[in-house]
């Protein structure tokens, strides 16, 4: 008859053998979580969690009740196609805005969607400034002609099985006042 303790030992040995074979995988998993665990308290933005190539890959780790997108308009309030003109996609624009918004959110200790347009403005102004800086040189005069540029955010939520959009909220301008 096999004793439970000896069976446990056998299972333990087996697991150790498998762990030895998968040592690179296990080490990489630990290293990917290190930037997340050892985060600095001085930094408030999401960048403290990333140490390329180590990342905890947070994309779609949660599905919130609300989310938002941003877009840019010209002096007449008409949307601008950002990619052909500046080579900056809306997703990048949103990430830049969201990074700065996270810092503001920590200051006001509230949810991002509860921040007022005025509270969001430093983040919006910085985002538009960076958009102009990232744009190729030949696009800058065109952007100046179109200025003042405005950044708008629109929130999306699910209500009674349908997606509801809020009215666009102006959260930044370029040149900043």
């Amino acid at each position: 008859m096999i004793r439970p303790s000896s069976r446990l030992k056998t299972v333990g040995k087996r697991l150790l053998r498998e762990a030895k074979v998968l040592a690179p995988l296990l080490v990489l998993i630990v290293f990917c979580f290190v930037p997340k665990l050892g985060r600095s308290k001085e930094r408030k933005d999401a960048f403290r969690y990333e140490y390329f190539p180590f990342s905890h890959f947070p994309m779609y780790s949660g599905f919130g009740e609300r989310d938002y997108y941003v877009f840019v308009t010209d002096r007449d309030g008409k949307p601008i196609a950002t990619e052909p003109m500046t080579f900056v996609r809306s997703t990048k624009l949103k990430k830049v805005f969201n990074t700065d918004l996270s810092v503001i959110q920590k200051q006001f200790k509230t949810r991002k969607d509860l921040l007022t347009a005025e509270q969001c403005r430093p983040a919006g102004n910085a985002t538009l400034k960076q958009l102009v800086e990232l744009a190729p040189e030949e696009a800058v005069p065109k952007l100046r002609q179109m200025s003042p540029l405005s950044l708008h955010r629109v929130y999306l939520s699910l209500e009674d099985g349908a997606i509801v959009e809020t009215e666009p909220q102006e959260v930044g301008t370029w040149p900043a006042p």
């Binding site: 053998r17 498998e18 074979v21 998968l22 690179p24 995988l25 990489l28 998993i29 990917c32 979580f33 999401a46 960048f47 990333e50 140490y51 390329f52 190539p53 180590f54 990342s55 905890h56 890959f57 947070p58 994309m59 779609y60 780790s61 949660g62 599905f63 919130g64 009740e65 609300r66 989310d67 938002y68 997108y69 941003v70 877009f71 840019v72 949307p79 601008i80 196609a81 950002t82 990619e83 052909p84 080579f87 996609r89 809306s90 997703t91 990048k92 949103k94 990430k95 830049v96 990074t99 960076q130 800086e133 990232l134 629109v154 999306l156 939520s157 699910l158 099985g161 349908a162 997606i163």
Partner: protein, 332 residues
């Protein structure tokens, strides 16, 4: 002693093929222009000298290595780095890597370049996760090569040559690096949202709508029927998921399950083929619906998981066909 997770043994030609294809993936991951480029007149393509084109030379939102040493990170965007000899050196490094001789000489510089470029790219205010898998694969290879050199203590000859056994182990650690990205992603989802993630997955249409709207504002062009089936697919999926939240949970939830069981791709060639093919299909469907960039994951899955499975199948089929032919010849 036998283990459940086991690294496969590869033929020399398979290893050469995998190494060569991965060198091309590294080329694509670096800001190096291709050899064949479209003609400025738009009439055709011409062969041109590769150029090193980095669009940023500052780190406005430093991340990773750029926090402690921004100079290192921006060094790949200096005028010296933009010169033609720099691009030529990188092409030589890639060729040396593809040939496989003295991998410990060629792998670490390529790792450094991908890490510097990835860090610079992620220090522009927007973090992306499409390049990490290439750097992690190179990191695993470099770490293994150094460990191998230290373990064998052949300081003068250990870094030369390319024995098939070592090359096979390089493929093994690369496969583990790729699998690690999926397992980490799955663990993060469970850590952040717990098993409630599956319930909340019914809110996925919000993400779909958000991505569709952002895609619209990129070009101010709404997809319509005239653009074909794929252009209107995201809108159709959005409607379908809104009508059936449970279907949405099952479809999106299967992604998390797949990430968790990705480790089964390390059981052998057949499992690698099965899991790799399903993960490629998973990425292709997400790319079509969400316009997300998963090309490096797809490349690595095809090279290190799907390809060995297909070659094993073809080899078996070829051996059986030859044996059948021999038997028939004897009967005649």
């Amino acid at each position: 002693m036998k283990t459940f997770f086991v690294h496969s043994v590869y033929a020399r030609w398979e290893l050469v093929l995998m190494r060569g294809l991965f060198a091309l993936v590294i080329w694509d991951a670096l800001p190096l222009t291709g050899l064949i480029q479209p003609d400025p007149s738009g009439t055709g393509s011409t062969v041109r000298k590769p150029e090193w084109r980095v669009h940023y030379d500052t780190t406005p939102k430093p991340t990773g290595l750029a926090i402690s040493n921004a100079e290192w990170v921006t060094s790949i965007a200096t005028p010296a780095a933009r010169s033609s000899w720099f691009a030529a050196v990188i092409v030589l490094l890639l060729m040396g890597y593809a040939l496989g001789a003295a991998p410990i000489v060629f792998t670490p510089p390529l790792l450094a370049l991908t890490v510097l470029y990835g860090t610079l790219n992620n220090s522009q205010g927007a973090i992306t996760h499409h390049l990490q898998v290439v750097s992690l694969a190179l990191l695993a290879q470099t770490a293994y090569l150094i460990w191998e050199l230290v373990r064998r203590r052949k300081w003068r000859t250990g870094w030369l040559g390319n024995p098939a056994d070592r090359e096979g182990r390089i493929v093994w650690v690369t496969q583990q690096a790729v699998v690690a990205t999926y397992v980490v992603s799955a663990l993060t989802k469970l850590k952040e949202s717990g098993f409630g993630w599956f319930v909340d997955a019914a809110r996925f249409p919000i993400q779909l709508k958000k991505n569709n709207q952002m895609a619209y504002y990129n070009h101010l062009k709404a997809p319509n029927e005239a653009d074909g089936y794929w252009a209107s697919l995201p809108a159709k999926i959005e409607v379908l998921f809104l009508e059936s939240p449970n279907l949405c949970r099952v479809v999106i939830g299967s992604g998390l399950v797949l990430e968790l069981v990705a480790v089964l791709a390390l059981v052998g060639r057949r499992w690698a083929l099965a899991v790799g093919a399903v993960l490629v299909a998973f990425h292709l469907s997400i790319s079509a619906v969400m316009s997300l960039d998963f090309r490096f994951n797809i490349y690595l899955l095809l090279i290190f998981f799907v390809l060995p499975g297909i070659t094993a199948f073809l080899a078996r089929w070829s051996i059986r066909a030859t044996q059948r032919g021999k038997t028939e010849a004897k009967v005649r």
